[in-house]
């Protein structure tokens, strides 16, 4: 028997069960919803990624005659991926939260149904109306493109449906949190006062912060939509700068929240594999509460090139963008690395994807911080550097989501053997193809190749070469992702037999993945919880 002192992270086998965070509730209420979300995410991701491959092929000059669909597909790919990432993260966070608080099943189904209706309206707008105003539909472009007015109205209706649905969903999650925790506790403010009770899981703090910010972002979206409708009905134009601020307050925040929700999932699930607790404390509370404010100010970096915006606001944008990186790097990334360092880690497809997802978040974050430096932004704004960094952490986010789906599947089908060799090949291919795909974006951005060009001007014709290589890498990535998703869906099959194996490392004897519950402890290590 091994005993660890109070100020150490356990590095021994068996510690996992004693040290893993407690599960207050274990109600399979949202099980069917998470399964439906998994299938929806998998199907939509493959379709939307195919559109991305099509875009890079067009830019590479490999699809002569099919260029006319570039901008409509760009719009669908952009808004589809941003929205999909958000809802998939929401679904995973809800699933993780299910162990602590109970969100409404009816609202979860409503969220799924509303999202499907919104997506159908988007498809009608883009495929039948060739709507192509881009994913952030910058005012007044939706009203002044070459597409028919009805397609713009359909697009705005789609966003209205999605916005209302997600607003209701967010409010229900906040309601569910409020049933169990006071606002002060849910935001971890008692940790700031030096109190350690009640113990609030980090996922609860992150989700609460994210949902509050999300409500603000969605209200901004509602204002944008109302102003669009007003112009449609009355012909009264809106102020372009105000609309741009509101659009990015909504768009930037939504995309960031998608990542934060994915991080909440990692906070919840990674300890199961590391065999160590990852608890909330004063630093975690300060970190995520600061995010509440910072994320709402960082969006100004999208408007650096609007010189009429007050200079003070621009400087706040840079400082806020920098400030956002500190809690992420020093608290979350550092915390995750500390959790894994010399831990009795069970490396499975899920834990590897979590780990790589965090790494991708860090790398994409560096690309974003560089771009948020005003002097650098002059050289990078709206070049391929922008899709370079957001694709980096979106791929990281999707990695975490896929990992979480697999994690949930394993919980449902314990005992089934993991195909570790096959998974090693899949992950290797995923990493290699993602690196190649992203490198083409970064190099193109450094060479000032503009984003959102269906055909590059002759002076920047070398951009076509990067696009073609990116299409090749993206195709390999997509194919591997499909194989991964098949594996994930397969993980949900119940009743399979066979012992689980650890993937790498010496933790093979750690055995199969177990849902850690207070009563499920197998090891008997007396491990003290580490609070700070």
């Amino acid at each position: 028997m091994h005993t660890t002192p109070a100020t150490t992270y356990p590095g021994t086998i068996g510690a996992a069960d004693a040290a893993a965070p407690s599960r207050d509730l274990a109600v399979p209420e949202t099980q069917s919803t998470i399964y439906a979300w998994m299938l929806t995410t998998a199907a939509l991701f493959v379709i939307l990624a195919l559109l991305g491959v099509y875009m890079r092929l067009v830019q590479g000059g490999a699809l002569a005659g099919l260029e006319s669909w570039f901008y409509p597909m760009m719009t669908l790919h952009g808004i589809g991926m941003a929205g999909l990432w958000f809802v998939a993260s929401m679904a995973c966070a809800c699933e993780a939260l299910r162990k602590h608080v109970l969100a409404s099943s009816a609202v979860a189904v409503f969220a799924l149904a509303g999202t499907v209706v919104g997506v159908v309206l988007l498809l009608v707008s883009v495929f039948m109306g060739r709507f192509a105003a881009g994913w952030y539909f910058l005012y007044p472009l939706p009203l002044q493109g070459e597409w028919p007015a009805w397609s713009a109205v359909t697009f705005l209706l789609a966003l209205t449906v999605l916005g209302v649905t997600w607003l209701v969903w967010s409010l229900d999650i906040l309601r569910a949190v409020a049933v169990k925790y006071s606002l002060s506790h849910a935001l971890g403010w008692h940790y700031l006062r030096g109190e350690t009770e009640p113990a609030v899981p980090p996922a609860v703090i992150i989700v609460t912060v994210s949902m509050i910010v999300n409500v603000v972002a969605l209200v901004a979206a509602v204002v944008v939509l109302v102003l669009f409708y007003l112009e449609l009905l009355t012909g009264r134009p809106s102020d372009a700068l105000l609309m741009k601020n509101l659009t990015f307050l909504f768009g930037h925040t939504l995309v960031n929240l998608a990542m934060y929700l994915a991080i909440a999932v990692v906070y919840d699930a990674l300890p199961d594999y590391a065999g160590r607790p990852w608890k909330a404390n004063k630093i975690v509370a300060i970190s995520w509460n600061s995010v509440l404010l910072i994320v709402l100010l960082a969006y100004f970096h999208h408007l650096y090139m609007d010189f009429v915006q007050p200079a003070t606001v621009q400087y706040i944008g840079q400082i806020a963008s920098y400030a956002a990186s500190l809690p992420a790097a020093v608290v979350t990334i550092f915390g995750a690395l500390l959790l894994v360092y010399h831990a009795p880690m069970r490396w499975t497809l899920a834990s590897v994807l979590f780990f790589l997802g965090l790494m991708g978040w860090a790398i994409g974050g560096i690309g974003a911080v560089i771009d948020s430096t005003i002097v650098a932004n002059v050289r990078l704004h709206n070049t391929l550097w922008v899709p370079a960094h957001f694709h980096t952490y979106m791929l990281a986010g999707f990695g975490i989501i896929v990992g979480h789906f697999y994690h949930c599947g394993r919980l449902q089908a314990q005992g089934r053997a993991e195909r570790t060799g096959y998974h090693t090949v899949l992950v290797t291919l995923l990493v290699a193809s993602a690196c190649g795909f992203l490198a083409m974006f970064y190099v193109g951005g450094a060479y000032s190749v503009p984003r959102r060009y269906s055909v590059y001007p002759i002076e920047l014709a070398h951009g076509a070469t990067y696009a073609l290589w990116a299409a090749v890498f993206a195709s390999v990535f997509l194919l591997t992702t499909v194989l991964c998703l098949i594996e994930v869906v397969g993980s949900w099959r119940k009743g399979a037999t066979g012992g689980a194996e650890a993937w790498v490392g010496k933790s093979a004897v750690a055995g199969s993945l177990r849902p850690s519950t207070p009563n499920a402890a197998i090891g008997t290590s007396a491990v003290s919880r580490v609070d700070q």
């Binding site: 070459e146 102020d239 400082i319 500390l338 894994v340 010399h342 880690m345 780990f355 002076e459």
Partner: protein, 364 residues
Amino acid sequence: MRYTHPNYCYTGRPGGTGLREILSRGLKFLLLVALLMWAGPAWAQEANREVEEGRALFDEKCVVCHTNGGGDHIGPDLAGVVDRRSREWLARFITVPDQVLAEGDPLATELLKKYNGMPMPNLGLSSDDAEDIIQYLAAPPAAAGAAAPPAAREVQPAPEMLFAQSMILYIFLGITLVIVVVFGIVGLSTYEQTDVDVSKAFQLRRVLFTIGLILVASVAIATLPQAPYAKEGTKADRIIYVAARQYEFVFSEEPIVTVEDISRSRRITSLELFGGELVEFRVTSLDVTHGFGIYGPERQLLAQTQAMPGYVNRLLVRMERTGPFLVLCLEYCAGGHHLMEAHFTVDDEEPVASHSTQAPLIAR
């Protein structure tokens, strides 16, 4: 003797021509000449007026998608279109293109297919407008002031990366390498499971936080003063007004606020600047939001701002490089976004001594 020829015959009446008749005919001829001399310029003036109005309309409504002798754009080059299509068809397609397309006109359908499915929009032009535009297109190139075909541009390999851009890339790659190494070390550490002293780890975290804070603050302090926003009192050597619209940049020596201003203002068709000049671009948009990205002779971004309807962004650039410059739209603005570009040159000349700003790029 009568001179007879089937084609040439002086006599209209047998018996020869009398003096009176000669005078009468001469008078009629003189009257006709006088009439022609009076009416000719009037007619020519009317034709010129139509051409001028046609040119103004073309500049206002058509140039977004078409050129007159400058090659295909979003739609076809319309030089000589009057010789290829009937005037009736042209007039109808100019005034009611949506109807022509809806009727399944084979020519219109073929054009739609050829030009990437982008339909010609109904611009609300009248029959008179269409006639003026057709007159303009039918006029000889000199009269029409047709643009000369652009000089052939050749595909060039990737240029050498500018210092600023390469610094950005290398800093990113350097930090990425550090991240990968740290994650790699941590990942591999799980092969050897040991206890970790958390208090030491938290000490390390405090150190990292302090280092991170100092680093971030230093970078912010060092870079914020370099931001491309104007310092008070900066005066440009030259002001260029830029009006962006789907899908062109209009350079002018006077402000352009509306589409109508384009034909009224002193438009700069060929912009030439001088090395060392501090140039202020006053950039606005007449429709949607565009980007105004200036690419230097190395074909990489040197400066940019947004062109936003209802606002004027003032971008000051010191022209430190000479050669051909390219301007690209860097904010997506619909179907012809990738075709929206402009060119100007910076000629070699002594830098203007009267202005010596410290930063090479200053804007407000």
